[in-house]
């Protein structure tokens, strides 16, 4: 087998990554619409074969949950084909095993999603979200590794990336992953907004979280349809999410400026870093709008999707930088 560019394989891997990204969006819609348990059975759907559920029953929350399951099945099939394809046609053993890893991860993710339904455990939504983000990075990496740029870069003029800069971007990317875990924990509290204003928090820089203050927040919150009371833990969680968001913005801005300084404006990594900065700015704006719209489902889901893109951007930057080093 030759280690040469296979366009069909590359575009298939890219399709898999794009479908995974859409699946994260659909998963976000499921949680935003509180529809995770609207189909109480699994692997059947409403006591029928999942693939034969009549369209007339795709109503309300069932629509989001069922289409999430169908798209997840498609991603499972695409990933399986990709793993087999890599195993048979790619000469790089590490990439073949990475394909197998993706296959195992997508299977585990499917089972995790199913158990979250069967066991009715809200907290399982958090690892389900974490695996989803990890899987997106993996599918993005598979697309990168099968791409023309990766395969041909051994002959290109090397522009090394300073170690300190690589460490900086890797750290920020890891912090984004932690931020996404925080966000998933917030979303799977199923209690609506813990803090209802922004940029202040209940009119203060840091909100009070005494029992009396929490009781006051609950009594004065706009009566949402959900009606669940909030807790001090949830208020602190949202404050932590805000602080990490600000830290991330500064971290990404510094990474973009350092990349510009070290590699120049024409370098691909500099462009990637400034795209990253734009994503972070958009993400903070979406976070604010999420609060101002009282967690409108479409805005909240866009916030989830841009968060996933920010993680992918950072991870791919690190891989490209590593490729230059290993040349």
């Amino acid at each position: 087998m030759n280690n040469k560019y296979q366009p069909t394989l590359f575009w298939f891997a890219t399709l898999n990554a794009l479908t995974t990204f859409l699946l994260i969006g659909l998963g976000g819609l499921v949680t935003s619409h509180e529809a995770g348990l609207s189909v109480p059975d699994w692997p059947t759907s409403l006591q029928r074969n999942m693939f034969l559920l009549p369209f007339s029953e795709w109503t309300g929350g069932v629509f989001y949950e069922h289409t999430h399951r169908l798209l997840a099945s498609l991603v499972g099939v695409l990933t399986t084909i990709l793993a087999v394809w890599l195993w048979l046609k790619d000469p790089r053993p590490w990439l073949r095993w990475l394909g197998i890893t993706a296959f195992l991860l997508v299977m585990a993710q499917g089972i995790l999603g199913g158990l979250r339904v069967r066991w009715q455990m809200d907290w399982l939504g958090v690892p389900h979200a974490a695996v989803a983000q990890t899987f997106l990075v993996l599918t993005g990496a598979l697309a990168l590794f099968t791409g023309r740029w990766w395969l041909n870069s051994t002959t290109a003029i090397p522009v090394s990336v300073p170690r300190g800069l690589r460490g900086h971007v890797l750290s920020v990317t890891f912090l984004i992953f932690l931020q996404l875990l925080l966000a998933a924990t917030m979303r799977h509290q199923h209690a609506g907004l813990a803090i209802t204003d922004f940029p202040l928090a209940y009119g203060k820089v840091w909100p009070a979280t005494s029992a009396a203050a929490i009781a006051h927040y609950n009594a004065t919150r706009p009566p949402g349809t959900l009606g669940n009371p909030i807790t001090a833990f949830q208020v602190n969680l949202q404050m932590a999410h805000r602080l990490v968001a600000y830290a991330l913005f500064l971290g990404v801005a510094a990474a973009a400026l350092r990349t510009l300084k070290k590699l120049g404006g024409r370098d691909q990594l500099t462009q990637f870093a400034f795209l990253w900065l734009a994503l972070l700015a958009l993400q903070i704006l979406l976070g604010a709008v999420t609060i101002w719209t009282n967690k409108a489902a479409d805005v909240t889901t866009a916030h989830v999707m841009v968060g996933a893109l920010a993680l992918l951007n950072g991870a791919l930057w690190c891989l490209i930088a590593l490729r230059r080093r290993s040349r």
Partner: protein, 232 residues
């Protein structure tokens, strides 16, 4: 012989107590201005649900207050009465899903007493019981499907029922291990039947407005105890 006499004495005592049982009644009122209810706007995004409301969406029902301040959906019970539930023999309580809402929204029953959940809507629901002290369950209920039957073994206040297909749908079920409880109706009135004579603490709880207690003595002609709630 001694055993038979003892059982007879206990039986007579119980009968005598029943003879002196009476009703505890009262009216719950609300004083002040209740927070405004909101239209349940997500209904309009679901065509099959929206079709049930051609002339306007329903509102949340956190504070069901009558024209003269009568407050519904307050759960009233005698405290310290645990372990006296003949719930299995009590008639079933019905919780319906109608107009993509739970009706009634507040339900009270005994441990062991059947809760019959119906689906009167022309579409599916999932009935997701989310208790704290009792086991959680989540079941599909098709339109016109068989009733779902629930019983609960442990007392629990405001056990949440929800529909994830229609995430605005909630009902709260309070479970007691004795028969001395009631929920106030639209007229604010409640009646706890067949309370043995004696001194008790009566507790009234509204899910949003909190709890109040009152000491009362039940005599042969019963007892009356009113409560007044105001905004927190």
């Amino acid at each position: 012989m001694k055993k038979t006499s003892l059982l007879l004495a206990i039986g007579l005592l119980a009968a005598a107590q029943c003879l002196h049982a009476a009703d505890v009644t009262g009216v719950i009122t609300f004083q002040g201005t209740a927070p405004a209810e909101k239209e349940i706007t997500p209904i309009k995004d679901d065509p099959s649900c929206a079709a049930l409301y051609p002339s306007g969406l329903p509102k949340t029902r956190f504070y069901v207050v009558g024209a003269n301040g009568e407050l519904a959906d307050v759960v009233v019970s005698l405290k310290g009465m645990s372990g006296k539930s003949p719930g299995a023999a009590a008639p079933p309580v019905t919780l319906d899903q109608k107009g993509a809402l739970y009706v009634p929204q507040i339900v009270a029953l005994q441990t062991g007493q059947k809760l019959v959940v119906k689906n009167s809507d022309p579409f599916i629901h999932n009935v997701h019981a989310k208790p704290v002290a009792n086991p959680e369950s989540n079941q599909v209920q098709m339109s016109g499907g068989a009733d779902l039957i629930y019983t609960f073994d442990r007392p629990e206040l405001f056990l949440k029922f929800q529909c994830d297909v229609h995430p605005w749908m909630f009902a709260w079920v309070s479970v007691f291990d004795h028969p001395y409880f009631a929920a106030s109706g639209a007229d604010g009135k409640f009646t706890i039947k067949n309370v043995p004579a004696g001194k008790y603490t009566l507790e009234a709880i509204h899910r949003k407005l909190g709890a109040q207690t009152a000491e009362l003595e039940v005599k042969a002609d019963g007892a009356v105890q009113n409560f007044t709630f105001s905004p927190k």
